[in-house]
Symmetry: D2
Subunit: 132 residues, 4 copies
Amino acid sequence: MAEREHTITVVPRYCETDQAGVVHHSVYPIWFEMGRTEWLRAAGVAYSQLENEGVYFVVFQLTIKYHRPAYYDEPLDLTTTCTKVSSARVEHAYRLCRRPTGLLLAEGATVLACVDAAGRPRRVPDFLHETP
Amino acid sequence: MAEREHTITVVPRYCETDQAGVVHHSVYPIWFEMGRTEWLRAAGVAYSQLENEGVYFVVFQLTIKYHRPAYYDEPLDLTTTCTKVSSARVEHAYRLCRRPTGLLLAEGATVLACVDAAGRPRRVPDFLHETP
Amino acid sequence: MAEREHTITVVPRYCETDQAGVVHHSVYPIWFEMGRTEWLRAAGVAYSQLENEGVYFVVFQLTIKYHRPAYYDEPLDLTTTCTKVSSARVEHAYRLCRRPTGLLLAEGATVLACVDAAGRPRRVPDFLHETP
Amino acid sequence: MAEREHTITVVPRYCETDQAGVVHHSVYPIWFEMGRTEWLRAAGVAYSQLENEGVYFVVFQLTIKYHRPAYYDEPLDLTTTCTKVSSARVEHAYRLCRRPTGLLLAEGATVLACVDAAGRPRRVPDFLHETP
């Protein structure tokens, strides 16, 4: 099975801030997706390769708790953890922290459904399933 | 108190689609914010006016369930319901439906915290509180 | 030929602002695309219908002059004018104005190339060509 | 004066693609801004620091030529060149290339105006001016 946990750095872009002077809350799902992508790549597979093979993951459920604002151009550590793999779904949890201090800024979770090119449910690829 | 429920139309923009041919899941929080804004305006207050008076609402929690994909340029009905107002927070629920059929595409919920310009908690303005 | 000129209203979304307190400059191309889409619809054709028929327009050139900032939630008039149609390309010009005063905020221009689903050049559909 | 030229890598995010299967054209100005930011940082100054000192750069003019599409998750080299510094403005040129081959995908140019926190024109900081 893929490594359970993977951390990437994200640096808020200027256009990701809003007039309240903080990163807009709609940006976090984009970062989470980036975290999942790199978690998958660390497991040896690029998502683009999965798509080429007709395997798509669609977000079925998303939850975010925003504890503290994130600011323009500050380096953040985003840790993505795979929390569950079933025959049809993959679940992840996310922790976004300010880098120098490790202060928790936000937490999240997603449930992905595995579908084919036509959007029909299909089995999660074997390499993502837990093995002893 | 403000009207409990308000419906707006949103039409997915081309740039809001992704290469899977559907609206990207990070767009829904933006639409929900638009729904809240118009719900508030229907209650007689523009959010920009609140900000001018030093009243800010920040998203503290967000949940979305994606049932079916939304497509480019199809008119959608987004219904925003205020589900709870406390001294420090305002909660909303959202239902996104395909217009001609009323088919439910997604559901969501947010919890907003009321803060001042410095980000410190402050009391939710009186006009948002329930009155008999 | 299609009507030369078409005006729509755009209202800046909160997430379209940045921490300088104005609409981020990367949003204007999105609005211009919306202007083109409605210009096309006013001419009787939805862009989604063209795509279904294998006709795609891709942006080949974009120019924008930003004269004055646009602000959150202010209604803006965006006028899209078709300035030229050739066998392979369609050109538009854009004027973005503050509604109550008509003050010019930005001007732009695009050159679109007509391609098929595989990205190969194809002839601009007849209905877009000028007729006497 | 700052180094004339600086190259960064950008990797298209999934949400930056559209249903035509390519990166949406409105994303390029965002990448150009990232290129300028890193060009500035390579010159020893973070843009956030400039803002703290009351120095803002606003985009006054933008031009982009899109030669070939960019695709999801492919590494791109973006080279930002400072082409002119005057008392009130700074100009840059951009070249976006596919990494393995160096194939040119897009070219662009921006003219920035230097303003203070109130949006009034101010002199471009000395460190950006050419010195023999």
